[in-house]
């Protein structure tokens, strides 16, 4: 197992109380696997990604365990953690325009990472930067382009090239297709597939997205997050074919191809979660018990679990 997250909690203190962005998350990620983390905006997906790499602001209270190759990242000294980032676990952010440094050319940004982490000499780093750009589908002659000179899709390719610079074993991609045209989204999905499944040994990826289409196309397994908790997990095909949690079902039904059926209500405030099951006020199947007792995860088959009493 490459990554094992056990009862991860991330709370932010606010004037009105604690914001429970992640509330007891358990996740497992196997080598060479792509795990999708889906859920609506504000369900805590991004926070989870940042918690793994320990990039949350200091105001966040984090507890639980994040075991990467048996090593608890949350207990690592900052200097050790720094060496994990980029070399072992790398992130690809949403919105590449703000995640790329406007003052440096893309080649420089890749070369810098290589020089900093792998101690490459200037020339070798540039050489490798060109190769990485080619690999992600940017002609190497564009190596001296600045981020503002590139299109959105090219920027995201450059982001991916930077993320891959030190050959990490785990990629965390946070909404990598956000804000891109559908045709470009397809290309980025193909690229992400190529740099994970297409290398040997295959590289693992945690794909954070709210786009079910992207998740279906890329992931091996899926975890559905709602209000800071994983409500369902399983093999992607299995979850799509046989969604057991009412929220997962609602999420799938909301997809245009399934009739664009809106779920009633709004996602709850993370400060003031409903008692019992967080989803019960919006759930069609909710009964009395749901309002009092928080459900635990039930295993309902080979590697398929659901946090619901009536699944």
């Amino acid at each position: 197992m490459l990554l094992k997250i056990t009862s991860l909690r991330v709370y932010f203190k606010s004037a009105d109380g604690f914001v429970k962005a992640a509330d007891g998350v358990d996740l497992e990620l196997y080598p060479g696997e792509i795990l999708g983390l889906v859920g609506e905006t504000g369900s805590g997906k991004t926070v989870l990604g940042l918690a793994i790499t320990r990039l949350l602001p200091k105001t966040a209270a984090v507890s639980g365990e994040v075991l990467y190759r048996g090593q608890n990242l949350l207990a690592l000294p900052e200097e050790e953690m720094r060496k994990v980032r980029g070399r072992q676990v790398s992130m690809i952010f949403q919105n590449p325009l703000s995640s790329l440094n406007p003052a440096l050319s893309i080649g420089e940004q890749i070369a810098e990472v290589l020089r900093e982490h792998q101690g490459l000499k200037r020339k070798a780093a540039w050489q490798r930067a060109g190769e990485l750009l080619e690999l992600t589908g940017i002609p190497a002659k564009w190596i001296r382009s600045y981020p503002h000179e590139l299109s959105g899709g090219m920027r995201q390719r450059a982001m991916i090239a930077i993320g891959l610079a030190c050959a990490p074993s785990l990629l965390i991609a946070d909404e990598p297709t956000r804000g891109l045209d559908v045709t470009i989204q397809v290309q980025i999905v193909e690229l992400l597939h190529a740099v994970t499944k297409g290398v040997s040994p295959p590289r693992s990826m945690l794909l954070i997205t709210h786009d079910l289409g992207v998740a279906a196309a890329l992931t091996d397994r899926l975890a559905v997050m709602y209000a800071g908790k994983i409500v369902e997990y399983g093999r992607t095909a299995e979850v799509f074919r046989n969604p057991r949690h009412p929220y997962t079902r609602a999420l799938l039904d909301s997809h245009p191809s399934n009739g664009l059926i809106a779920t009633r209500g709004f996602s709850p405030s993370l400060i003031n979660l409903p008692p019992g099951c967080s989803f019960h006020p919006r759930c069609k199947k909710a009964r009395k018990k749901c309002a009092h007792e928080p459900p635990l995860v039930q295993r309902i088959g080979m590697d398929h679990g659901v946090r619901c009493f009536y699944a």
Partner: protein
């Protein structure tokens, strides 16, 4: 080509650059341009008015003022550029550290800056040179002692806004060390606005150097420094004004050219600033 197109309409930048280029050329090629030795005393030719042989006349010791003004470019420009560069680098470094790390480090640095900002500039410079004795090194020291704080303050503000941007988070996510992030991501983004500030500051510094030299606390008398020349010429202000006019003009023109360059640079680097300021 890009720079050329931008500057085409920017007359200020162009005028400033040409003037500064001219001053630089004067400084570099001073021995070839000056018709006389700037320190050559000829008592029989003292206080000659501007004319055919002496373009700007001669001073109280019979030295050619044009030659002295030309050689003076070396002192004024060189000293001002050295002082501003030291201030800029020091301020950028300290300010980046304060802004990036925040907390106690920030508090400590900024309180020191506040204290130093409370001192009147020229008076502290007078004190330093007065105590340590007048020399070029002490002049630089005096102007650096307070000069860096302005840059520190501005850099800190810039860094505070830069460090919240996405690419800093991305650099951290890739395992960049603090030093690496400051050097490669923060400073390149904080530099352009500071460059404008520095260019405008060069003219202040030229004036400060001239003022200190005028007061006898900077570059010393026989050296052809513009401020020192003014000081030497002041006894002739009513009888032979040309002795003071030409070094004075040189100071004015150099200050003007750096101001033009600074303002022009600001327009090129940040076109929005001009619209806002011109309202």
């Amino acid at each position: 080509m890009y720079i050329l197109e931008v500057t085409r309409g920017k007359k200020m930048l162009l005028t400033g650059s040409i003037l500064i280029f001219g001053f630089m050329a004067l400084a570099v090629f001073a021995p070839f341009i000056a018709p006389y030795d700037p320190d050559d005393v000829k008592v029989e030719e003292r206080l000659l008015p501007p004319g055919e042989h002496h373009l700007m006349g001669t001073d109280g010791f019979g030295r050619d003022i044009f030659s002295r003004v030309v050689f003076g470019t070396r002192y004024s420009l060189f000293l001002a550029l050295v002082v501003v560069s030291i201030n800029l680098l020091l301020g950028l470094m300290v300010g980046s550290i304060a802004g990036y790390f925040g907390g106690l480090v920030d508090e400590l640095i900024m309180r020191i800056v506040d204290i130093l900002l409370a001192f009147p500039n020229i008076i502290l410079a007078l004190c330093i040179v007065g105590v340590l004795g007048p020399s070029v090194q002490n002049l630089i020291l005096a102007l650096v002692a307070l000069g860096w704080v302005g840059y520190t303050r501005v850099s800190r503000g810039l860094v505070l806004s830069i460090k919240e941007q996405g690419f800093i988070g991305a650099a951290k996510a890739l395992g960049g060390s603090n030093m690496y992030i400051i050097m490669r991501h923060i400073i390149p983004n904080a530099f352009p606005p500071l460059l404008v500030l520095a260019t405008l500051h060069v003219s202040h510094t030229i004036l400060s150097i001239a003022a200190l030299s005028f007061l006898g606390l900077g570059v010393q008398a026989p050296t052809p420094e513009w401020g020192a020349m003014l000081s030497e010429g002041k006894q002739f202000i009513f009888t032979h004004p040309h002795v003071m006019i030409f070094p004075g003009l040189a100071i004015t023109l150099s200050v003007l050219s750096f101001n033009l360059l600074g303002e022009g640079l600001r327009d090129v680097l940040d076109p929005r600033a001009r619209e806002v300021l011109n309202v």
